[in-house]
Symmetry: C2
Subunit: 278 residues, 2 copies
Amino acid sequence: MDIVRSVDDLRERVADWRGQGLNVGLVPTMGALHSGHMALAGRSVETMERTIASLFINPKQFGQGEDLESYPRNEQSDAEQLTNAGVDLLFTPTTEQMYPAGFATGVAVSGLGDILEGSSRPGFFDGVATVVCKLLNQAAVDAAFFGEKDYQQLLVIRTMARDLNIPTRIEGVATVREADGLALSSRNVYLSTEERQGAPALYKTICDVATKIKAGAPLAEAEAWGSAQIVAAGFAGVDYLSVVDSETLEPYDDASRPGRVLVAAQLGRARLIDNVAL
Amino acid sequence: MDIVRSVDDLRERVADWRGQGLNVGLVPTMGALHSGHMALAGRSVETMERTIASLFINPKQFGQGEDLESYPRNEQSDAEQLTNAGVDLLFTPTTEQMYPAGFATGVAVSGLGDILEGSSRPGFFDGVATVVCKLLNQAAVDAAFFGEKDYQQLLVIRTMARDLNIPTRIEGVATVREADGLALSSRNVYLSTEERQGAPALYKTICDVATKIKAGAPLAEAEAWGSAQIVAAGFAGVDYLSVVDSETLEPYDDASRPGRVLVAAQLGRARLIDNVAL
């Protein structure tokens, strides 16, 4: 696997592949790779003729007081995993390459980007939409792969790409979980041994909430029950636990449509998010 | 000249040209074409192997109370002029094609997009940046041509395209003027005969302001003198008359750098803008 650090080098490689008639997939990451990322890479390697992974810790999607400085970094291990997964090229731009002096442009998705995670982390989805817009324009690939673990992010990116006519297919890949149900996340390393033992309560609770909703429980009641369960399991607080329409993320009020339970909660130093389909 | 109304048809034509190794230029317009637009089309036809013009009156760049409803529309005359200029393809999407139900994404250029014209017309440059981002992604051309008459718009678009890594060269084309100096504008049709006679004072005044600045006049003094001249010529009011750095549009405080005089003023029903280099 080759590693390129500039947009020009990236484009040269993609143009070369295109010239050979090969289709190309992109797996954007912030590094600290785990089996969830590897599922994205695997899907691209399986379905596309060439696969690029990107590794860029995007400062624009970290808010004041968030963990930009301490976010886990393991570039060597990341590169080894990607090589083993059959990824063809790793793109690791510098911050100066992505946001040179004078950078002034922002991309925002209103509505979808303002609620839930967007409300808890102001500016987060603007940072995500901006960097993914850039990555998609830089790489000009046929498809890009994102995890359903960040479900709202997947919807924001899909909306942004559709609205701005970026000709890249956005594909969601199912969440990868530990044996006890905890969704894989680069931030799980923040958990102490004890916190790690309590962490699966997050997934278990949203599964139970989904079951209650399907059995006809009122939304507000099921949501309140779920939040109480999570706090009882040792979480410091629940940012939101919401049963929503799978496409609009508006409160789930039409049982004929697909729904989703989304949650964000704080456990020790780690802010964990997860979601399940109804 | 063929006319296409859907993004799919546009992309098919461009892909066909690319397959033949031809480079392509785009001239985005809101129609009501005049010799200024024809200079853009002419530059593209001269320098590119194929030229597309787009015609779309972009509702997102009109504010509350602005002239979206009355903006001049002459699609037949526009198509004739473009045909005569040697344009190969006209792209005229519907509003539903550009902004389908659920459209939620905005592109904004902070700083450059907030001052002067951006301050007088809140949201204007967001609307411009969003639609041009879409057009550039839709057409995927090698170069796109914009008039220097809308100087700040040219800078906003150039910044947006650079920041979002859109691989299209943004080219500025010099302002086309009537014999008496009035910059061509689709909105000049709003002027009464009498207003039309007074309108060239706008250009004359900013040329005089440029001369004063080059002769060492203080900025504020020259700007105040210019505004007074324009009001004395019959304009109802001056939104701004500013001497600025040609790249940053910040107040001009470094005589070693290129500068520009920018003006916006109201004359009857028409809001006119113009600019000259120092």
